[in-house]
């Protein structure tokens, strides 16, 4: 906000940056070499505004998503979180398809002038430690309430270390899944590695930053790496 805007108390809404998102698929390749593969799930969060304008946009977006989902084989569901944000959760094994579907949501909102309502997009990555976890395992994020935070049962079990030792540049906890969160307003990504009990694995996060630092714009201000507890990407 410029000094003049501040002086007059004017609100300039921050428009989202949508282009940086397309750098993600190549970064996913780099992450895979480091032992983290895309778990096939992504989500977009935005803040629903009141009024018919926004409701109209939501209806159009729903139709658009259903149509494109049946084309690309992406499955989707939508839900609201406890903070009043709306999440579009997408499942597709192809990271390119996920990025495309996320972009569809972005474009629908910005076209109607609701770009400033976009909060973040999240892409989940799971450890690809061979043999330890069979099949695609979505990243699990512990919910904030104690009832459903008995998540360790659903969290991937620690990988056995027998035989093949972890590669030198892979995350320290082989069971740690990591989300890449895209901040629309800043055009940057940051890693978020949730552990049960609303704690985060900072070591894994900083490692991801080191791995991707040259490929993706990583948010330099650590104060903006906000935790997404209870985000519906589990």
């Amino acid at each position: 906000m410029s000094m003049l805007d501040a002086l007059f108390g004017r609100t300039k809404q921050k428009q989202p940056n949508l282009d940086v998102l397309f750098a993600l698929p190549s970064a996913a390749v780099t992450l895979e070499e480091a032992g983290l593969r895309p778990s096939g799930r992504a989500a977009v969060a935005f803040k629903p505004a009141s009024g018919e304008g926004f409701a109209d946009m939501r209806r159009e977006l729903d139709q658009l998503l259903q149509r494109s989902a049946s084309d690309s084989g992406t499955t989707l569901r939508q839900e609201d979180d406890s903070y009043g944000y709306h999440w579009v959760v997408l499942d597709d094994p192809q990271i390119e398809d996920l990025v495309g579907a996320v972009h569809l949501v972005n474009a629908s909102l910005t076209d109607k002038g609701f770009g400033p309502a976009l909060l973040c997009a999240v892409f989940a990555f799971a450890p690809s430690a061979s043999g330890a976890i069979g099949g695609p395992d979505p990243a699990s994020i512990p919910a904030p309430d104690p009832v459903s935070s008995s998540a360790p049962a659903t969290a991937p079990a620690p990988a056995s270390r027998g035989g093949s030792g972890p590669a030198s540049n892979s995350p320290s906890q082989p069971d740690q899944s990591v989300c890449l969160v895209y901040l629309y307003k800043r055009g940057t990504f940051y890693p978020f590695a949730p552990r049960p009990g609303e704690r985060r694995d900072n070591e894994a996060e900083l490692r991801v930053r080191a791995i991707l630092g040259k490929q993706l714009p990583i948010e330099p201000d650590l104060g903006r790496w906000f935790p997404l507890w209870g985000a519906p990407i589990a």
């Binding site: 501040a6 002086l7 108390g9 609100t11 002038g113 307003k185």
Partner: protein
């Protein structure tokens, strides 16, 4: 930058510009008058400037201390931090520190001279009474104050009034005890007394005008913050509901507590005034509830048309 859907309020901006201009004008005229009268302006300015700097740099700590507020970590208040995290991400601003005051009066304030060292404080009474959506609206209002640098603007704006008030008071003292003129014969003394009277008069007038102007500026900035918060959260009516709820509760609180809180009013979400204490709208630091609700209703209709 295109702003589809949310036209700015140009009328509000115009009025604010006028008030800022008038404040500046009064400032210049006052300083010129002081120099013309030969008052040791530099000395007075240094003393007041010292207080001003102190207030400017310590405003966050003073405000927190006087309310008995303490900073809370993300572990202590996860919901509060979660809401602020998300609002700051939406608005692309640096997250302020967060404090909670153990006080049953429902209120919130933001303070600090820059975005980097600002503090956002809510009372336990506010958190107890508002639901999450309403709390989000109030936090959005306070974050807008931070984004608009209202502490800096209002501190600078009220500086002149502070200076004029101090001069009036100190000269009344020295004038009363006849120490100011210092002339040797009768005519010099008369001229000195007349001079002192003139300065007191000018200072008093300046004080009155700048007081009214700062109050007007404060009301405009409150409306701006309401507007920004409504657009940021996308829910003007939720903020309106919070305003109604908080204002209703404020009137029901015993008078004594409220009087204690009055010096901090400039930074509050809703000013705590003793019940039955009816100031004319000219003197109040916050716009009337009706005016605020009216603006929020207007934004709601703008939202309905948007898209």
């Amino acid at each position: 930058m295109t702003q589809r859907g949310f036209p700015g309020d140009s009328a509000l901006a115009t009025r604010m510009a006028l008030v800022i201009f008038l404040l500046g004008l009064v400032y210049v005229v006052f300083i010129a008058a002081l120099i013309a009268f030969g008052v040791p302006t530099l000395m007075i300015a240094l003393v007041v400037g010292g207080f001003f700097l102190l207030q400017y740099y310590l405003s966050d700590r003073i405000a927190l201390f006087s309310l008995g507020a303490h900073e809370v970590s993300a572990e202590e208040a996860p919901m509060l931090h979660g809401v602020v995290d998300r609002l700051c991400t939406l608005a692309d601003m640096k997250k302020p520190r967060i404090a909670v005051a153990q006080n049953d009066m429902p209120n919130a304030f933001a303070t600090g001279r820059s975005q980097a060292n600002s503090v956002l404080c809510v009372t336990t009474g506010l958190m107890r009474r508002l639901d999450e959506g309403e709390l989000e609206g109030v936090l959005g209002h306070e974050l807008s104050h931070v984004a608009h640098r209202d502490v800096v603007v209002m501190t600078i704006a009220s500086f002149l009034g502070l200076l004029a008030g101090l001069i009036t008071r100190s000269l009344m003292y020295t004038g009363l005890y006849g120490g100011f003129g210092g002339g040797r014969d009768r005519r010099d003394e008369d001229r000195g007394t007349a001079m002192v009277m003139a300065i007191i008069l000018v200072s008093a007038v300046v004080y009155a005008i700048s007081f009214l102007l700062t109050r007007a500026l404060s009301r405009y900035r409150e409306l701006s913050a309401d507007r920004s918060a409504a657009i940021l959260t996308g829910r003007p009516s939720t903020l309106a509901a919070a305003l109604v709820k908080v204002t209703g509760e404020m009137a029901a609180i015993p008078t004594r507590d409220l009087r204690n809180a009055e010096p901090l009013n400039a930074f509050f979400f809703v000013p705590a005034l003793a019940s039955g204490f009816s100031l004319s709208s000219l003197f109040s630091s916050h716009p009337s509830l009706e005016r605020r609700l009216e603006q929020l209703a207007q934004i709601e209709t703008e939202l309905a048309r948007a898209g």
